[in-house]
Symmetry: D3
Subunit: 277 residues, 6 copies
């Protein structure tokens, strides 16, 4: 079952690239010409997003066949062949750039996520993403994070509670904010509250949230926060964490570290299309 939630963005990508038709291909490629190419890793990477390649060509021309040569989540070396695409040459050419743009961006996220996960693999911590995703890409980028080996924080504003400073201020304090939330949502909604000072923790715990987010705290404060919070709630560290700082944060004993970096700063990876002669 292909991820139908990805279709709107793929449709949009094809429309913006192909517009009223691929003039060059229409002029130069005979309608009955067939072709074949392979997507090849031009550098080591964790492959992700071959479903997007398949969906791109499903929309463009059902006569194109996409064969995965490697499953999503696999570490591929430079030169590794990721997928084979074959069919009408005109369709292949018209969709190549869009398909590559998808798989490169998603593989970039999976690759950096895998690196971050491995940096803390021996610690009892789970790496999470954030809502700092590329607009329009959330279902895809959250998937790439999972493929990379991390887990997803909430998908968006409607599937979990995260009480931040503005909510606390408007509600009149941590206690009232947690109380109002608890009166509103049912048992299937997780409640997390953000604190940036240790003094806030006792009041937060009194409201019995599932978890507490430590926002931009220094390492020593995080350590103390963990001691105060466990085992009453789980602890998440967030705020400006990068690959080079994630291990130190993880060593404070927090249960979760979340990084916007995974989705807004993943270094581009290079994937090319090699045509069969």
């Amino acid at each position: 079952m292909l991820p139908r939630q990805w279709l709107p963005l793929i449709q949009m990508a094809l429309e913006e690239d192909i517009g009223q038709g691929d003039l060059t291909t229409l002029a130069t490629i005979p309608p009955d010409a067939r072709g074949r190419f392979e997507f090849v890793a031009r550098q080591p990477l964790v492959v992700c997003g071959l479903d997007a390649v398949e969906l791109t060509y499903q929309i463009l021309d059902p006569a194109v066949r996409v064969t995965r040569l490697i499953p999503d989540g696999t570490r591929a070396e430079k030169g590794a062949r990721l997928a084979r695409i074959e069919g009408p040459a005109a369709s292949l050419l018209s969709g190549e750039r869009v398909a590559l743009n998808f798989v490169q961006h998603l593989s970039a996220i999976a690759t950096i996520t895998r690196q971050v996960v491995e940096l803390v693999a021996d610690l009892p911590v789970t790496v999470l993403d954030t809502r700092k995703t590329t607009p329009g890409w959330r279902p895809m980028e959250k998937y790439a994070v999972r493929v990379g080996g991390a887990k997803n924080h909430r998908y968006g504003l409607s599937d979990a509670i995260l009480i931040k400073d503005n909510h606390i201020a408007a509600a009149g304090g941590i206690g009232p904010a947690l109380e109002r939330v608890r009166q509103t949502v049912g048992p299937t909604v997780v409640i997390e509250i953000e604190v940036d000072r240790l003094e806030q923790i006792p009041e937060a715990l009194a409201g019995r949230p599932h978890g507490i987010l430590l926002d931009n705290m220094d390492l020593e404060s995080m350590r103390q926060a963990v001691a105060m919070i466990h085992p009453h709630a789980w602890v998440e560290a967030s705020g400006g964490i990068r690959p080079e700082t994630v291990r130190a944060v993880a060593e404070t004993g927090v249960d979760f570290v979340s990084l916007g970096y995974l989705t807004h700063s993943a270094p581009a990876v290079d994937i090319g299309a090699d045509w069969a002669d």
Copy 2:
């Protein structure tokens, strides 16, 4: 006149983030509470995308007012205030992340573009983007490139001809490819052809294209190519050009340098929301 072409992606971004409603805000923010915050540069950058902020809130709640404090394309120092957003507090909070995600990504592209443009500002060369854009974002990213001071290569496959090696092979050579293109398109379509060896240039010129793209050539070959091509056509250099290599390429005398780097590798910039007390 706001760019209506941006609406579908902004709509999609709001839907994916807000889903069935911002549970935290619904529970904690009184419906009649009002608020105000400003977007502030947390680092030096070239600001871009304030129209996206305005459109985000137009869709979400027309009662929100967005005031630009600085025009797109301006270089902002760390701490510079970019825009003020005020209105119903619940609406402000629900749209904050989406609006920030847009303006950060677009400012990142404008910022790196400006840096690249300045690296070659004293040379008779024009910096261009490519079709290696984030799927779904082409109208926005092409705009950010212009805001950064570069120019756009073709928007997509339907507004200009770019004959690549696969087209040449399928058409039976450079000459036949140019001939077929010329028979197909009218006078409002620019014709460019890609070559990767100097030997291809005479045949290319014989087909009288508007421009010739030098694909991944070394610097010395580029210099020779320019000498062969001028003044019969303009010359574009492309393929793996990065900020650290752009000047050397430009010094070969090419008319245009195009960089996928501008749109797929722009380093993230940090913009925050400061709430009024």
Copy 3:
């Protein structure tokens, strides 16, 4: 901030009713005629859905003004005036049936929900809805349940885990199912598991779910289940519960009772439009 999530269904409702235009109104109502009518309760009810009235007329004709006379969630007696609608007479007439159809259906759900909630108001139990909603209406019907005083179970399949017998069977047992779920989702997702026999409870508890759903158990079994489960997880009773049986179920000590009845069997309520002379 009106609920924009309701717009697609309201748009669809207007299109299916008005089609290519209201022939009768076009023929008989002068374009410049103005009018006014009020929605009036023809029986006691809990009013719900006036936002849908406002959105209906916003789409149809922005010149129509809708004034709420009573807030959603209020108990209205027979004859109570709920909202006043005034503006171009042709627009009023063309939208009347759609607006009434919305507010009647939503008020029906709020009304029965309120009745069920009051039947168990003195017990430490919370009434919940289910996913047995009218297709296309989930955001609206979930809202009507809240307006009626109950809380929402999960919105859909992507915002919480509910492991049912088929999932258990496919995963190879309760333990493996809970283990696989725990490895997949992050900390913001609540995990609930369904059991239909007391013997399943120890294994379920060993997997540390947030809650356990008792599916179609008899009252005595529910009582025993509560004793086994508390305080390790919360307990939900579900399966064929109706207004006449809800109290007995609640008295078993379960934390939550969920009723598909609220959304698929709410008795219709009658609301009429009284035109001003």
Copy 4:
């Protein structure tokens, strides 16, 4: 030829239920697991809506096969098997609730319609529906009414004329209203006018409508109205008619009885999914 008009609502229903993916199924069901279940009547009913089951799974996963075991419109006893659904187990589970929600609602309407039709089967009267349908569901509910054995009143405001009291008042009387309508529409539009007093009938007949609707009249007035109107036009009785009153109304000699009850008050019917071991 499946009813493509149903697709938008089915698409909407899947989106609202599945959202960003069925978390439980993704975590517990192996991608290559296959399954099979049957929809089974848990009570006597008239089956309706199996096309919606097929369309639901066509959208979700074309690899699922739906086999009707009984045609729409058939009376099914408790325990009767209605359809078999087989294919990838994950897809089956993810679509089960939506498919059931559709077929239960449509079968409920077909079932009550059949009962009403049979109550007056020996009389020269035809049972009709109204525009009091569930918003978004009109094409489906009108179909269910036909499957139940009744006929459809007009689909919406654009395919027939029904002049009500507000139109009469605005046009300056019954005569002018009919005159204006006749000047506007062509020969393919049926003209009906609503009266609530016997005194209005002569003027109505003078305008030569195809039919006259008696709105909320008592039985004796209906009898007299029929005598006045036949054979010059057909007669429809409407307004608050319920299964328990429909026969008395029909015995007055009217040609048509229309009941909003069929679509807004059909008692829920129970259909379950039995999985194959």
Copy 5:
């Protein structure tokens, strides 16, 4: 109340013309420049479609103001000013061609319709359109026909019955076809049957249709047909009728003449935009 049914086509027209932006206007028109122009008839015509002008600019830029100088349906002489459009100069220029394309096409239809109607104005006949409309344009073209003074035949396949030869053949004859139709549809659907030979008329009349369509009959046959059919049903003549033949057909005594010519062959009319100095 503007015709919202027209919006999808207008939206599509703007997208296809403006695409990613009006390059020329963006480059040459200062953002704060304002302008004004008037649509002027370059030949005598019946004006139609000014709502499309208003909707075009509403979508493009709400800051543009459209003032009708003449109502739809008015006969305008050469040089007559039809509407004034003023606002941001860039928006005016970007929408001019689309707005003109709409109003020219609709005025062309209204103009030829008016001419045809006047050719038979003294006869007891009504001019009708057909379903031979420009795909995508039916709501607009049906409106233009009414503005021109004719009436609409059915809007499409779902709002009236028209039994043609293929239906007759499949149903096993005229009688069975009419019988099956009568068993299927309710009282709000008009039934018309097409005949092409006089011998078919008695069987057709026996089925009591509302009307009979004479398909491509010669004038003498039409006369005889009218004599056979009146007063049992109304009579429509159709099939290749043109302005030069319409009067002869009308004189046969038929009640209706329908012409595809009105919508598929209306001669273009010329409307220009005169800019204020």
Copy 6:
């Protein structure tokens, strides 16, 4: 690869014609009846648009098979069979009118285009279309023009520059207008400027546009303009050119003649559906 860009209009056309279902066909055609018909030219024409026939039936019912009997662009004599359509009889009938409406309109444009092209076939001139297309139809009509043997002028406002008098006035003259355009667009955008007087040509040439459009000039002026402009730019003649005047214009030596006539005034051609017995 069928032209997916045509789908939205075809979808719209089917919705407007079929609406809630083809009542006549539903009532008279047995669900299992199969049929076959052929589209036949009722007059000589250049066939165009068979892809639209195929797409129409793909949307309506994938069980219908469309076989082209003649390729687009072929000159067909009266009686020539263009395509065969076979499958479920109900689907064939429901889609027949829409499919015919498409292929007639597109063939009309291809036919008149071919005639115009042949009128100037021995001259070194190329026939072009304009933006005076039927709103919603641009991708189809531009295709029909190509099928007819002419070439396309720019697709819309975003793929080429055409500077008209209003742009010149706003920019402060021909020179400044060309300068601003050149500073804005990249090398893939063709620049054309419109002049209506010979005196404007020197300043226009100084700005080095790719082409110059002569707007509504008399023949003698055109001849002089060509002499002034060649070989510095290409020359297009435009403005009110019709089949009867195109040759004289072409003989002035212009490179291109563009005619709105091709798309807004193509005389209707007649294509019928012949059913197999």
